[in-house]
Each structure stands twice: as structure tokens, then as C-alpha cells.
Symmetry: C2
Subunit: 289 residues, 2 copies
Amino acid sequence: MKVFTAIQEIRTHICERKQQGEMVGFVPTMGALHEGHFSLMAQALKENDAVVVSIFVNPLQFGPDEDYEAYPRTLDADLEKAEARGVDIVFAPSAAEMYPEEMQTGVHVHEGTDVLCGKSRPGHFDGVATVVLKLLQIVQPARAYFGQKDAQQAAVLTNMARDFNLPAEIVTGPTVREPDGLALSSRNVNLTSVERREAVWLYEGLKQGALWIEEGSYGPGDILKKAKHTVEANISGTIDYMDILTYPGLKPVKEWNGQVIIAGAVQFSGARLIDNIIVSPGQKERVGR
Amino acid sequence: MKVFTAIQEIRTHICERKQQGEMVGFVPTMGALHEGHFSLMAQALKENDAVVVSIFVNPLQFGPDEDYEAYPRTLDADLEKAEARGVDIVFAPSAAEMYPEEMQTGVHVHEGTDVLCGKSRPGHFDGVATVVLKLLQIVQPARAYFGQKDAQQAAVLTNMARDFNLPAEIVTGPTVREPDGLALSSRNVNLTSVERREAVWLYEGLKQGALWIEEGSYGPGDILKKAKHTVEANISGTIDYMDILTYPGLKPVKEWNGQVIIAGAVQFSGARLIDNIIVSPGQKERVGR
């Protein structure tokens, strides 16, 4: 496995591999790799000739009061794990390599950022879209892989790829969970042991909501009220949001018609966790009762 | 010469040519081709194996009260001229091909847009940067060529390429002028014959200012006052702006130290014209007297 920290060097290396006819898949990460990332890497390895993983905690997507400093950084362990999984190339640049001077240009996401995480994290998706655009220009892959756990991120990046005519295909891989159902996240290591036991209730509340959506007897407002109650009753943290929106459009649900997402975020003492379930409502006629 | 209107088709064709080892140069235009464009094409033909010219009047960079409808469109003549100049490939998409649905993502230029044209054309450079990013993703050239006449555009795009790690090199070619000195522009055809004779005074005013900058005896404020007076005294149109800024930084000039740009814009009845000169001040010690 080759490890690069310099943009110019990884560019040259990938260019050579592409000239040999290799199709490149790309898994961008912020490190602290877990089974969720490995699942994306396995899919990328199956669908491409060579797989590049980037490890970069992107300052641009963290707000001033967010956990940029506390975000787990475990580069040596990450490199070992990536190599063991058969990754061909790792790109682990410094912040100075990615942002050598103040950015005079950025990606701005006009739509779909006034809901879910976008509401409480202003500028977050602009920062995500900007760094992903940069990484895609550096790596120039045929496909780039993102997890469904970050559903809004996947939607924003899929839209960006379409809007900017990016040559890379954006692929979304399924959420990987702990045995008790907690969605894997690099931030889970920042939970206390009590919070770790409570954390599964976010998923429990979403599952409960998803069942009611499938059943179709209640409107979104009633379902959210019940699901929020389930979560609130079982955690010491606070709910940042819980919402039901069309998917992938992320618009308010007016009738049970087409796919929806039920998504939530919970703030614990040292970590903010998010999760979601995509649901196809069963009985759209009975909405709102 | 091959002409494409569909993104997928030109992508496939360029991909084949690159696989044959050809280096692709790209000249994006809004059509109504003139010697300014031909000069960029000649440079691109010299420096690359194949040259792509795009012809697309980009609605995203025109404000609601600007001349999108009146902008000259002469596709058949443009194709003949491009072929005669040895261009290999023309990309002439419709607005529906470039913007099939509402854009949810755009490029935002944070810096250098509160001066010169950016001041009176809010959103203009966001629109320019967005369409150029899209075109660069479609054509994927080694080099893209822009005219020095649109100096602020060249600066914004050079910054964008650096900020987004775009693989293409942004090349700036010199301004081409009529025998009397008027900078070539597709908009010149929208001048009345009286305005056409007056129009050269924009360049005359800039030249006068450039001489005083080189001479170094006066400060920027005094020089602009004199240059504006020269222009105003000789045209029926109105001055939109005249300014002296550092170049390429586009910041206020505090001392005659390093390259500066003296630039102006004049609004005539049916056309807004811009022009500029890059100057290296001679005697920086004597600034502000």
C-alpha cells in the first residue's frame, strides 16, 4: 500500500495507474476507521481496479463551537487497517497541504441545507462539498463512495456531482451497525460508557417511527412526537432534531407518496450522533389520520 | 471539425482522443467570435494536440437587467470561423443541456468580487465560475485559455483553479485591439456608430492613467480623477467605474509597489464595455505627492 501526503505526488502516481488502464475507486474519510468505512472499501475494491482512501479531518466543515480538535485522530492504526483490507493507496494530507492559503472560492449548497444537520450546522455542507470537490479533482476517480448514515451529505454530494457535471459517480453504501443497532461512527469513541448504552435509543426511536410510516395510519407530526418521546425518555443527552422528509429530495412530506427518510441527531456530552432510516410508506391513502 | 451539443457525446469523443495520447487545450467562449478569441485559439493550437472551443451564452452570469437576450448569437458564422482557424472540436450546448434542472449547488467567490465589475454585477462571477467549472469537468483539458481584457474574470478563475485543485492550467492571453485601440469584444456590435467612435476614449483614459502610474508622481486618487475626466469629456455613455488596484490581488493600492491594474467600464445605450491595462509603477518612492 502506498501512502501519500503531497498532492502532486499522489496525482502523478494515480495518473500512471490510470495510464495502465486501471479504474480508480475512492473512499474519502476523516479517519478513525471502522466497519462502516471497511464496508465502503470492500465495495470499492469489488467495483474498481485500484482503491484510494483519503484520511483528512477537514477544518472547513466544522463550526467554531464544534469538535474539530476533539475529533478522533488515529492515523497509524488507520493505515494498518486500510492495508489489511487491501486498499492500494492512502492520501493523508495535512491541513496546510489542502489549504495552503485562504480560500477565495468555495462551493455553496443552495438547497437542502435548511433541514436536518444543515439547520444546526450552518456552513457545514458548504465545507463538505468544497473538500470533496477538491479531493475528487486530486484523485479523479471513476467512483466515490459515501455512507448512507450521513444521508444528507450523500444527497448534497450526489446533487453536486450532477450540477457540476463531475465525471465521478457518487455511490452510497449501507449504514453498518453495532450488534445492538447503534450506527457506527468515528465519534462513538467520545461517548461515556453510560451514553454508549443509551445511544442505541436514537435508532430505536427511528425504527419505531419507520414502522408507523410503513403502517401509514398517522401523519408525520404524530409519528415524530411519539418517536421523540421514545428517545427523550431513554437518553441523558438532548435531541438536536428528529424529522421526516422526502428522500432524496429532503422536502416536507405532504402525503405518504414515495420514499421518505426519518432522521435524527442527539447531542451527548462529548459527541453528537446522527442516524436515519429510509422508508417506503405502505398505505399512502391513509395519511394524516 | 467535430461539433457536439450533447455532454455525453463530447465526453466520449474527448476520452478517445486523450487515450490516443492527445493533450487537449480548451477555449471557452460565449460565441460572436472575433480576433480576441482567435488569438486564444492560435495559442491553444500551438500548445496542445487538440483544441476544443465551447460556444455557450451562460444565463447564470447575467443579472436580471443585463443583456442576456441582446447578447449577439452568430453560431453558423462562428462554426465557419472556428473551422477556418483549425479548431478540432466545438461544444455548443443548449441552456437545457447545461442546466437541465434547477441548480442546488454553485461556486461562490468570496474574495475579489467587491471591486470593478463585481461591484455593479452581483453574482456575475459566481455564474462565470460555476459554468467554467462545469465546462472544465466536461472537457477535462490540460489548459484553458481566457483573455486579459476580462482581467477580473481571469483572476477569479485562476484563484478557483488553485482553490479547488483543478487539474487544468488557467492561461491568460493578451487583449486584442482594433486599429484605433478599442479592445475587441462581442458586445462592440451593439454600439451605435457614434458610440463606436467614442468608445476608444475608454482606452485613451486608461492609457493616460497608466502613463501617470509609470511616472509615479501622483497618487491613485489624483490619477483616477484625471483619467475619468478624459473619458467623461469624450463619450455620450456613462462611466460605471474606473479604478486602480493591485494585480492580480485586486486590493486597494497603498504604495506604488508591484504590478497594478487600471481598469474601467463604460455603459453605452446598448452595450457595456470594459477594458484595462496592467502597469508596473516606476518610482514607488514618490507615491502620494
